[in-house]
Amino acid sequence: MTTRPPCTTLALPGAALALSLALVAPALVAQDGGPSADASTSDADEGSLLELEKRYYVVEPIPAPPGEVLEVGGLGRLSDGRLVASTRRGQVWLVDGALDDDPSDATTTLFAEGLQEGLGLCVVPGEHGARDRIFVVQRGELSELVDDDGDDRCDTIRTICNDWGLSGNYHEFAFGLPRDARGRFYVSLNVGFLNPEWWHGKSIAPYRGWLVRINPSDGAMTPIASGFRSPCGLGLDTDGTLYVTDNQGDWMPTCGIFAVHEGGYYGHPASLAWTDEYLANHAQPSDTMPPKRTRDPAAVWIPYAWSRSTGNLEPDTTAGRFGPFAGQLFAAELTNGELLRVQLEEVRGRKQGAVFRFRRRIGSLVRVLFTDEGTLVGGMTNRGWGGLPPADGLVRIRWTGELPLEMHHVHLLQDGFEITFTKPLDTSRTIVPDDVTLTQYDYDSWWEYGSPERHTTAVPVTSTALSADGRTLTLRGADLVPGMVARVALANVRAADGSPLLHDEFAYTINQLPEGPLSTADVAKTVPPPPPRTSGAEGWLRLTYFDALDAWEQHGWQLVDAELDPEHPRTFMVRDGVNALVDTGPDASEFTSRYAMGDGRYHVEFMLPEGGRAAVYVQGRYGIALADDTHGLAADEPSSGALLPLADGTPSRAPAFDAYKGPGTWHALDVDFVAPRFDASGEKLADARFANVLLDDVLIQEDVALPACAAGRPSDEVALGPLVIAPRDGSPLALRTIQFRPVQPAVDDEGWVSIFNGDDLDGWRLSPGIEDPDGERWEAGGGELVGRGDTSHLFSPRGDYRDFELRAKVMISDGGNSGLYFRVAYGPGWPKGYEAQVNASMSDPQKTGSLYDLAPVHVELVPPDTWFDYHVTCRDESEGTHVTIAVDGVVVTDFVDTERRHASGHIALQQHHQGSVVRWRDIQVKVLD
């Protein structure tokens, strides 16, 4: 029952690489793929590494007042030395004495409350004796908190800016809060995660997924850069570079640190919805298809093993009081609960560089702040996200004063690295190329959650040389390529004073090499999306998806969440929800499909209460009993899966097995049905049959002929009839996921003409005024015609179709929209004619099967990324123009246009918006007049 998880196959030259590092257990980059050292570092080694780190950096909690919880989201420091912390609970606390000898003596008092979160804080020091100013970014506004009367309680909350979009989605956080040299603030905005597809970040309110800049003097908000997903941390370096961290997820292969420039786009397409281009075209970015826009590079991609949720980053401005790393950046990591060090350089005009582990096992660190004394203050929270405990509160991290041996900084060479250490190395032992493990890898930029390290390649180093002063190790001879991360680990490195290399590995993101042609390859590479998960649904019509009742004739049924009522188990307990269709009383009608169906597999999921009784009637005529037997069944009463007696006296037929599991449990009934056959005059040639009946995949009826309809049902037998599900005796019944997979009749080719030759678009015309010289909008080949890009329509060569049948195979992308137009006039804009809509998951409530605006279908019959057959008939009749639309052979629309709106015209295909992709095959017409 469990499925084997996919493994990545790794191509490595030569044999598997075994790695042995002085401090870390072996087993790493193996032949069939695998993660770095840390994932298989044993707990014992982690423990000993932690003990080493503690020699140099100590972590001490700053206790919260008893009973209070500080889910820290923002940190600042007042001129009088007190810390200020804003929290996710909308409180702001002042902490006095946090940096004294004993932090447990610190006093924490409440300054403000009632904010709507507070995931960023900035103290602007008062000048010339004026009071410090405290700014907090709440979920909905950037505010200044003012203590009017000096009693250390906030009185006024000034709204600086509340212009960004907020839809109410739970995940729409606003993060901050750096302030640049011109006094302007920066806020980053999380996308939303909605139901039912919670794994796609969505930007449904203005500027979600953007970084914005706010001028406090007038509150003006300027959107700066897009493409973010969960940009939890910002950081402003001393050189004015603004950094944003983002968290691994859809379109984010791993946690990244981005050096943001104005107008940049950093990878997650949802936020493109608010660019001028998309707004002007009413376009929607696709959840799954890569957008046209290429993403800007990250300065650093952090190895997944080191960070799963990165918080903010801060430059070390302590001038050496926090150790020897002045000027470098330190980043908070929440899930693993550690502090990372980031060292960047500028190569070919852009920032890129290395990330190192620094101090582990701190807690769910999300915010860090340096103080002049050299202490790093940390704020923690992980509610709802999870992470290393402690889950909340404040900590401080201080340097013990002892100088560790670390790789201080790394400089990229054309064929290697120059690594400078914090102290001289032990020269008695030479470091040789075998001591160096250098691999390169990149990532996929795609819609699925994160990416493994791809194309991991061992890159041997041919020479190593230590400088005379023992401080700088130069590695050369490596065949480095840009557009990949370089991971370097060193073994056998010890300081002259005997101390071990505290952290022996770094990951350097190589966007560009120092020389040579500029690379255009991003480390996060666009790849074709993987095959859609729903492709197994081809051929199925979903009769209750999205608009659960649209395809059904009924009254008294409701869409709810239902479960067995524990106090009254003969009925259900219901509440608002979307998980079940329930009849709400004995007066509820039967549940009858609007569509008439024949051969195929019918799938009905049902749940009965104690004593419940129901029946499923295929074609409304051939019945299968559903019965809960908790309180027993009468002697001759049919049990679940029994075939009901026929009108010709055939008695009920018991199921081969008792597969019914009990009340309050969902079951799946699958029926393979063969309809009766008739000759041209209507005489029956063959009986209807149940080829198979399965209950929860157990075969309970096999190959049963049905010479007559069920007793009590209509007695005329038909080629096509509705599916009817009927509660019996007023019983409560819960239904969900009703689907039908038609068996397609043999294709009749007589009279059909292909209007698309499968190879090119000769004779077809694009909407007037639109050129497509490179086939970027419409691409033909291999039997398929693919539409992409901005809105356009493709008109058939002939424009005089009047009465005809039209069929095609279509597939529409997730969030995409298209249409099959007919009797349409050649012209600009939205064509004037009839349209058979093509739409699965795009927001338009008119779905596949609709005759657009005239006869809408709201049930989402076919999922996106799934081929289906479309069959349209159009005929002038005495009462009007008669149009039928069938999906996979089932007629879902049968409409007579009494106004005879369109007399004749072209057939046309629609490309609806940028981000939508539609595929057509086998487009054929049979002219009838």
Binding site: D148, D155, T156, N162, A391
Partner: protein, 395 residues
Amino acid sequence: MPEHPAPRRRRALRAAPAVALLALLGATPCAHADDDAARAAFLLNCARCHGETGDGHGTETLDRPARSFRDGGFSFGNTAEAVFRTISHGIPGSPMPSFEALSESDRRALAGYVLSLGPPRAEASDEQTELRVAERAVVVRGLLPPISAAASEQPRGLLVGTPDGLTFEYRADELSLLGVRFGAFVRRTDWTGRGGTPLEPLGKVVALMHAGAPPASFSLVGGPSSKGTRDGSRLELPLHCELVATRVNGATCTLSGTLVRPDGSRLGTLEESAGAISSAFASGFVRRLGVPLPPDGALRVDLGLEPGAETLATTEDAVARRTWFVLRATDGEVRCLGVTLSSGEPVLVDGPHGPALELRALPGELLPRGVEIVTLLPAHWTDDDLHALLDEPLR
């Protein structure tokens, strides 16, 4: 024939699933058999990748390390519902597969077990999440649920709680009063679970402005920026009200906003504070506004009633310099609106959105104009009550 009562409808519980599953997770100990079954299912389905102890070190070789449940971090959140969804759906693109082949109850049990391997999650209790108002007014910003059936959710909402038990509920993006409640203040449901959920105002609604979905509170008529229509009637120009600040001063909270014309030009600053007021006759609330006035034309202040409200009586309290307008709304509710102005006379008009106060600047007037609107909510009204209205002092 067995009896089949209609399904019993339960009140929608906002946090129902999480609450139900918390009971599964550790607040109450599971039955022994269930524990063993969940652990057995974990060992069978999960341990290969996540390790027998859930430490992320399984025997399977993966392209990325599996989660350590002991450390408590999850890709999609650490609530029971989120973990259940991940087990059901998998994480496409990662080695985590879907386990939808397992029954729903098995998957929920696994979610509970997996969470139990991690650090304990402290959930804020009901006691901790209820905010109470003591002597100082309290302002809370947050996502507000619809205040009434006609209203919508407010992603930027604002609640002002006063010490005398009233809660004034505002929309904060387009600053306007939605309604008034009486009772306890608010529960911060967004302090539990994954957050981001609506606040739960605890007071009972005693008055709604326009059934909870008010139009613009302030508008302009006449003046150069107001267009006339062909039949000569004057169009009302709605003003946008931008929140500028909230200021708590003891028991009062003052909201200030900027009134902005449709063309983007600013009319001026509005200030508003509200509190309880009552007399022996009836209880209610008072709004004290400081409003800017246009140099030409008039400012209209919406009074919160739908069009078609009937004026039952008008009377003057010369001593208090208060004009009373007794209005009966279209739904039958009677409101006694007592208006006091710092200058000028109150004029009640029938605006397109309902009754409104129309205010014109007087020559040489020092703005802003002070406007006090008392709203008393009597349970019923007869003409005799006019005396009680005037006689009983307000406090």
